[in-house]
Amino acid sequence: MASTYEPIATTTISSAVANVSFSSIASTYTDLYLVIANLGTSSAGQDIFMRFNSDTGANYSVTFIYGTGSSALSSRTTNQSGVRLGYNDSYSPMFRVNIQNYSNATTYKTILSRDDATGNVAEATVGIWRSTPAINTITILAGSGNLTAGTYTLYGIKAA
């Protein structure tokens, strides 16, 4: 029986890098699932972004809902140079990102993301990359500065 849920690739970083990319992603899955654990950045309080296929154009938008522990809020950003996944604090934040139908070459690509940064927010995000090519590269980066820690794992999910 074909495996439904498969690890594609993983890495753990422990020193400063500008970004982490998953390249040469095969088109053989239906959806992708990215898990980032214990993410760290060179300066605290950074937003974390994702780009597809090295596209740095203003082609990304998000709407997100979040709780700070005292306020429940929602916000939206449009025409950004990356999908905002959420916020990094210093309390072992984690991110889980669903990227559905990533290899479809005719539709814009959407993501659903959860960000859990206990020192700061619990957050859910829906994002869109306004571009139709199949996703073959995913890049994770901080708004400013470097990524300094974390385990980054990409899984493929097959619908049949």
Binding site: A37, G69, A72, R114, T118, G119, E123
Partner: protein, 172 residues
Amino acid sequence: MATTFELISAFTVSTPANSITLSSIPNTYTDLVLLTSLRTDRADTGDNVGLRFNSSTSGYSDKRVFGYGTGVASDSGSSSFLRAGRIDAANNTSNTFSNGCFYIPNYAGSTYKSVSFDSVQEQNGSGAYDELQAGLWSNTGAITSIQLYLVDAGFLNFVANSTAYLYGVKNA
């Protein structure tokens, strides 16, 4: 190829119980996923669940954002347990169980343990809670057991057909 997403333990309540404990969790996976379907027998419209790792009563904190049908709010918790959602009780719509999903990455590693938790207390009526929560257990020990228990005072239990399914996820 090794199975990526594997069932570790499946528990269904047959006799009403105040807590559910999943023990002897092997350290051979990368992450854990706990799926719950819970309801209590107390004559109320909701009960609160707590979660503890390794029977530890310290080091828990969380932030959550939640809606309850007529409003939305956010709060923080810091206690002897991790808040694990508000679930249906005896006065909620019958035959309705609340769902919870916990994702625990790197559960066997030596860093503090993050928990991503989503839950819904759905019912065909008002006052149902829908929660997103960021949790943290500030302990560097590997997780070997998970306990779900009912926090509210009084004599109350998880009813029969409440379930807890624990899965292991391997990243290679």
